[in-house]
């Protein structure tokens, strides 16, 4: 029987961490992820879990210590947000290239400047090429479910890559909502024990980790990382399906909401997807065939699958919650458009920037975007291929 609870997103992921009970958690506090190490430290102090918690002096150190713990053979994790992730930057590449299956609980928010503590996806989108698997959540339930699946994906022998479990800062992290939790035993059974194959504390098999790789070796390492990322696709689907058997909630690369017969669709990540679903329902009542693709897995990027899911649509709006400053849109827009170019050229796609620095995204705004897509389709009305929505009037 599922446990009916109400938790904030930070509480939810902390509860999942408690149930998984990893070996080591080094962390440095930063708004709005501070509550995660705080809750975990409480659980440890209360004797509810026995993870070794290491308070460190910066995020560069927290990722370094997480890397050290993972290399030693421990199941390790850390949590951060925004500038904290930015300070980890060089270490993120070290974690991925050394094929360490550690977890990072990220609470997405804007990067400075101007100084802003609120939600957008600039932090994780900036880290999209570091070699981390990236999984996003719409709400507290999904971030809880995603963390429970995290190590099953990252530690899989075909993968062995670090994983980033993302949720929207404040909108999800600080909002208390209903949630269904699994029993501790079910979580433990699903996640299982970590049995590393190659690790530094294995005296029988001495090894070097993170050595200098001359040009003769570096490129093959990158190729191997990319191969592992491709393997992660099957593992993510297998784990998501198996989790469905345990929890009643199955997960894939993305959720298709009323997309099957949709003429107009939004492609969107995170908490705004829930808001857009209310718009979809309202428009369907008015006879507009609106649908939605909520992307859950951004790395590896399921390009062919996304293109297939959108192939029946006339016009789609790709919603980016971060700017890439290429002058033509954001990272999600670029990647979805590339996918459509390769696999579904007939679909017209626009790239909209929304919600930067916590700018609110409402049901009305979502409805207006669908109406714009319809107007373009029916009247041949031209839009700018790329524009901002929700700017002050």
């Amino acid at each position: 029987m599922a446990i009916r609870e109400r938790l904030s997103g930070n509480e939810a992921v902390s509860y999942a961490i408690k149930q998984v009970n990893p070996d080591v958690m080094p962390a440095f506090p930063i708004t709005p992820s501070t509550e995660i190490p705080q809750y975990v430290a409480n659980y440890i102090a209360n004797g509810e879990m026995d993870t070794d918690f290491i308070p460190v002096e910066s995020e560069h150190s927290s990722m370094s210590a997480t890397i050290g713990a993972s290399a030693a053979g421990a199941r390790a994790l850390t949590a951060t947000s925004s500038c904290g992730l930015a300070l980890m930057w060089e270490e993120l590449y070290v974690a991925a290239s050394n094929r360490l299956p550690l977890a990072l609980c990220l609470v997405n928010r804007a990067l400075s400047g101007p100084i802003n503590i609120n939600c957008d996806h600039s932090d994780s989108m900036g880290a999209r090429d570091t070699g981390f698997i990236q999984i996003y959540a719409e709400n507290n339930q999904e971030v809880y479910d995603n963390f429970i699946q995290a190590y099953r994906i990252s530690e899989h022998r075909d993968v062995r890559l670090p994983i980033m479990i993302c949720q929207d800062g404040f909108i999800t992290s600080h909002a208390v909502e209903n949630i269904e939790l699994l029993e501790d035993e079910k979580v433990k059974e699903f996640v299982g024990e970590y049995e590393p194959e190659n690790y530094l504390l294995n005296a029988d098999q001495p090894m070097a980790l993170g050595p200098y790789a001359v040009s003769n070796y570096y490129m093959e390492t990158k190729m191997a990382q990319n191969t592992a990322m491709n393997h992660a696709k099957k593992v993510i689907l297998d784990v998501g399906r198996e989790y469905g058997g345990v929890s009643g909630r199955s997960y894939g690369f993305f959720e298709e909401y009323r997309l099957e017969d949709a003429d107009y669709a939004l492609v969107i990540i995170g908490s705004a997807a829930g808001t857009a679903k209310d718009a979809v329902d309202a428009l369907r009542e008015q006879g507009v065939r609106a649908g939605l693709l909520k992307l859950r897995v951004f790395r590896p990027f399921p390009d062919e699958e996304i293109a297939k899911a959108l192939s029946g649509c006339k016009v789609v709006a790709i919603m980016d919650r971060s700017e890439s400053f290429r002058g033509k849109g954001g990272p999600l827009g670029a990647e979805v458009k590339a996918a459509l170019y390769d696999h579904a050229k007939q679909v017209r796609a626009y790239n909209l920037i929304y919600g930067l620095g916590g700018r609110d995204f409402t049901v009305n705004e979502a409805e207006q975007i669908y109406k714009d897509l319809e107007a373009y389709d029916k009247a041949g009305k031209q839009f700018e291929e790329y524009r901002y929505v929700g700017l002050r009037g």
Binding site: R6, P32, I117, N118, E138, N139, D168, F170, I171, T172, H174, A175, V176, E177, N178, S271, A272, G274, T275, K277, D278, G358, D360, F361, T362, V363
Partner: protein, 190 residues
């Protein structure tokens, strides 16, 4: 969204408006509802205007935006009336409740012609009488439950007693005062 009650809280940092919104979400959750309780974060500092929100529904809540057309508004600090448009979008079938020593007629000029229900309550007096200190959030919480009827009186007091016992497990001496403040505020606006 049709069966969802939306509540907006206006307060100042440090007054407990966010905590009150979370307590309301908690109590409503315990009565079997789907809930949201969340703050809107600006520059975090004592005394700065803050907003917090509640959605309470019979069915799962998906929307993740702030609330622009609330059914109810709670004003925890009356000095906000001069600087914040507290009735913005407030539905006329709904109501606003303000923590003030003033009468309804005295606050009406600040409410931009709002024609729905207007309630005033002196949460300072209640709080100081029951707790010996100024914590306006408990009286304001009771007032909005009495006005909005998002749960029955019996459910509310039962859940709040449980909640205070848990919250103040290490300070049991304040439980009785808080419950007294809730009752006094509830009855004043009932």
């Amino acid at each position: 969204m049709k069966n969802t009650v939306e509540i907006r809280w206006h307060g100042r940092g440090g007054q407990g408006a966010k905590s009150a919104a979370l307590m309301l979400a908690d109590a409503a959750f315990m009565t079997g509802k789907h809930v949201q309780g969340f703050p809107e974060y600006g520059p975090e500092r004592m005394g700065a205007p803050i907003t917090a929100y509640n959605r309470i529904s019979e069915s799962p809540i998906r929307v993740h935006s702030n609330i622009y057309d609330p059914d109810y508004v709670v004003v925890v600090d009356e000095t906000l009336l001069e600087s914040v448009d507290v009735t913005a979008g407030l539905k006329t079938e709904g109501a606003i409740v303000i923590n003030t020593t003033k009468s309804v007629e005295e606050v009406r000029p600040f409410l931009k012609g709002y024609s729905g229900g207007i309630y005033t309550i002196d949460a300072r007096e209640i709080s100081e009488k029951c707790l010996g200190r100024y914590f306006p959030n408990s009286p304001m919480l009771a007032a909005i439950v009495a006005i909005s009827k998002v749960m029955t009186k019996e459910d509310f007091f039962r859940e709040m007693e449980g909640s205070y016992k848990h919250k103040f497990a290490k300070k049991p001496e304040v439980i009785e005062g808080n419950l007294k403040a809730l009752h006094m505020a509830y009855e004043e606006v009932e």
